[in-house]
């Protein structure tokens, strides 16, 4: 369609205004803001969701995978990449300190729709069996650290560590009740184990659970802090790597040939 097909009111030859008034610029900006918000939300949701579900999905799907060793280790390490990339983009280009919260909120919206509509609605797994991991408190924390420090290094070190350390305590108020013990045929199980046994997953035998099996002996019962601290350490490194990946994806160059 060439521009001559377009009916442009008040068109003058040669010199043509892009906008008719400042008011129109403002209206256009408002529309664009909403559209960008929507596009960022959906695209980051999709990409972040496919990333997390295939790198930590099993721990995130099932209550009998949410252990003390792997879940608090894998969760932060897997989720921090998009946080780092989004924080770079939104802070560097807009001075908006909501990168982490924005992507984590998008992720949780995607996960909740799926757990409710598909895990529950299609295959009938109870929602209390397949609720997603809560990452928002850590995300708010790391956003605030970026805002206060205005430094990516500080955000990586303090924010990355805090993000990882906050994961388990943020989830514990939801999870703890499922760790109450029960006796079943002479065997002690947590309610989460019992739900994992009772809720049949034909394609998911018990032995594929990657959960703590009594290692980390030398730290006695303190498994979570060690796991979280390790996750924090890796999260710092991941943050920095993904900062540069976010930077790389914010490129605006052209090439002549593909």
């Amino acid at each position: 369609m060439s521009y001559t097909d377009v009916d442009v009111p008040n068109r003058r030859d040669k010199v043509q205004a892009a906008f008719r008034s400042f008011g129109e610029v403002a209206a256009a900006a408002s529309v664009l803001n909403w559209l960008l918000l929507f596009i960022f939300f959906c695209v980051l949701l999709g990409a972040y969701h496919i990333h997390t579900m295939l790198l930590m999905g099993d721990w995130d799907f099932w209550i009998d995978w949410k252990d003390r060793r792997y879940w608090p280790t894998v969760g932060p390490i897997v989720t921090i990449p998009f946080i780092a990339a989004a924080q770079f983009f939104f802070w560097e280009k807009f001075r908006l300190p909501f990168g982490a919260t924005f992507v984590v909120l998008a992720l949780l919206v995607g996960e909740w729709i799926n757990r409710y509509v598909n895990f529950w609605g299609w295959t009938w797994f109870p929602v209390n069996f397949c609720w997603p991991t809560e990452f928002i408190p850590g995300a708010l924390f790391i956003d605030c650290v970026l805002l206060m420090s205005r430094s990516y290094i500080m955000t990586a070190v303090i924010g990355g560590l805090g993000y990882a350390l906050l994961m388990y305590p943020s989830n514990w108020p939801i999870l703890a009740q499922f760790h109450m013990p029960v006796e079943k045929n002479g065997l002690v199980m947590t309610l989460a184990d019992l739900m994992g046994f009772e809720t049949v997953r034909t394609g998911t035998p018990e032995y594929i659970r990657l959960i703590e099996k009594g290692t980390l002996r030398s730290f006695g019962q303190d498994v979570v802090p060690v796991s979280s601290f390790f996750a924090g350490f890796v999260s710092m490194v991941m943050y920095l790597i993904w900062h540069f990946i976010g930077r790389w994806f914010s490129r605006t160059d052209f090439i002549a040939r593909i």
């Binding site: 900006a29 408002s30 803001n33 960008l36 009998d64 949410k66 252990d67 280009k93 807009f94 001075r95 908006l96 909501f98 919260t101 924005f102 909120l105 949780l108 609605g121 299609w122 295959t123 009938w124 109870p126 929602v127 209390n128 997603p132 928002i136 408190p137 708010l140 924390f141 956003d143 605030c144 650290v145 206060m148 205005r150 514990w172 108020p173 939801i174 009740q177 499922f178 760790h179 109450m180 013990p181 029960v182 006796e183 079943k184 065997l187 199980m189 309610l191 184990d193 019992l194 739900m195 046994f197 009772e198 809720t199 049949v200 034909t202 035998p205 018990e206 032995y207 703590e212 009594g214």
Partner: protein
């Protein structure tokens, strides 16, 4: 937007909402559906014929109400001809094949041992199991016992329909903890899950909205792009912004800490998830006693056009009564010898060939006698169950349970197995 456009937008919104409502209804109303096999037919024949030999499977009821239990009991012999392509069954799990979480698995016993987790099996051994299921979702469900083997995948046993009547709304599944508290697992903890998640999502949304309202993307982008240096752009963050952020930071940490410590105080006896292999009791010694009927597998031919397997055997009867061959059971398909198995056998039709087995010499084998004979297992099930592919696999061999019946009613279940040679033209059969 003009008025008619608003109306059109309204109509579209209405349409979407209606679709969503239909979708919601579909979840609840379209619950009564039926489901057939569970994909086992895709597995190569030798995987199914030479792994778990299920037998004596009984489904206690064909129809139950929501909230009632049904039992599946039976035995399986772990093949002595275990295929190389399936991992050694060091980690195995007795599972259920069912379409979604339609039954709740209340109990699973293997040789009397409760097995909610994985265990080690030994090829060549026979085990007995009992599964108790609690009906949860109304519908007509095809339910199989399944043995999952690490690096081997799921190996399905025979499936049978169980009709569940009643209403899901009546379903409860109570459990009492060691602290003496009783809960309904179906809804347990839901309030906490929803409240915490939606509280945090609301806080996150407020945080995002606050910043989005502060100029959105366009004006902030213009300002950053037009700033001569980083510090100048940083001035976009006002002292009020910082105060608000400090509030969010403090509030977040406070909520997490208070909630965590209160939870710790309220639930001091929270255990870690339980894991590790379970050791299975030896079971009834009779199940694994040596059989006194000996069978030597000599040669087998799978006759492609005739859809039949012909196996030459040498049988020695060391028992104290004459025996006859009653059945060949392989990959859960039962080929029955009608001359011996005269009573109707209760078994899923899709796996039963009631007249599928004949024996070249039907005379009972006397005690002390050794005889060579051929068994012929012939039925369309070779094709419909995709076992005919035995002639097209990477390991053209079979195994199955041969069932002998003694004149006094004694039963001898013996596994036979070995290579099977395809025959495409019928001519080869003459050599038998």
């Amino acid at each position: 937007m003009k008025g008619h456009e608003y109306r059109r937008a309204g109509r579209s919104a209405l349409l979407s909402i209606s679709v969503a409502v239909v979708m919601g209804l579909a979840f609840t109303v379209i619950a009564i559906t039926s489901a057939w096999a569970h994909g086992e037919k895709a597995q190569m024949p030798f995987l199914r014929m030479r792994s778990v030999q299920w037998y004596d499977i009984v489904w206690s009821k064909a129809e139950v109400k929501v909230g009632e239990t049904v039992e599946i009991t039976g035995k399986f012999h772990l093949s002595e001809f275990w295929p190389d392509s399936i991992g050694y069954p060091k980690e195995s799990f007795l599972n259920i094949g069912q379409p979604g979480a339609v039954f709740v698995r209340k109990e699973v016993f293997l040789n009397g041992t409760f097995v909610p987790r994985a265990f080690t099996l030994e090829p060549g051994k026979t085990y007995e199991f009992k599964i108790v299921l609690l009906a949860r979702r109304p519908g007509d469900w095809h339910v199989h016992p399944v043995m999952n083997i690490r690096n081997g995948g799921p190996l399905s046993g025979p499936g049978e329909y169980i009709k569940v009547t009643g209403d899901y709304a009546d379903f409860t599944n109570t459990v009492t903890t060691l602290d003496g508290k009783t809960f309904d697992l179906e809804t347990f903890g839901l309030t906490g899950i929803y409240s915490w998640h939606f509280l945090w999502m609301a806080i996150a949304a407020v945080w995002v909205a606050y910043w989005f309202r502060r100029g959105g993307f366009i004006s902030r982008c213009l300002r950053v792009a037009g700033s001569p240096d980083v510090q100048s752009a940083d001035k976009m963050i006002s002292p009020l912004d910082e105060k608000i952020a400090l509030g969010f930071l403090g509030g977040t940490l406070l909520i997490v800490m208070v909630a965590f410590t209160r939870t710790e105080a309220a639930l001091p006896r929270a255990l870690p998830l339980q894991s590790g292999l379970i050791t299975i009791a030896p079971g009834d010694p009779a199940m694994n006693a040596p059989e006194n009927v000996l069978v030597k597998y000599e040669r087998a031919i799978y006759d492609v056009p005739g859809r039949r397997l012909v196996v030459n055997l040498q049988i020695t009867n060391n028992s104290n009564e004459p025996v006859q061959i009653g059945e060949l059971n392989t990959a859960s398909v039962r080929f029955l010898n009608p001359k011996v198995m005269k009573d109707a056998v209760k078994y899923p039709d899709y796996l039963l060939a009631p007249e599928g087995l004949s024996v070249s010499d039907e005379k009972p084998i006397a005690p002390g006698e050794t005889r060579k004979l051929s068994i012929i297992a012939q039925d369309a099930l070779w094709d419909t169950q995709r076992l005919a592919d035995i002639y097209y696999g990477t390991d053209s061999s079979m195994a199955g349970l041969l069932v002998f019946l003694g004149q006094n009613g004694t039963r001898h279940v013996i596994e036979i197995g070995g290579p099977a040679v395809p025959n495409y033209t019928n001519i080869g059969l003459l050599k038998l």
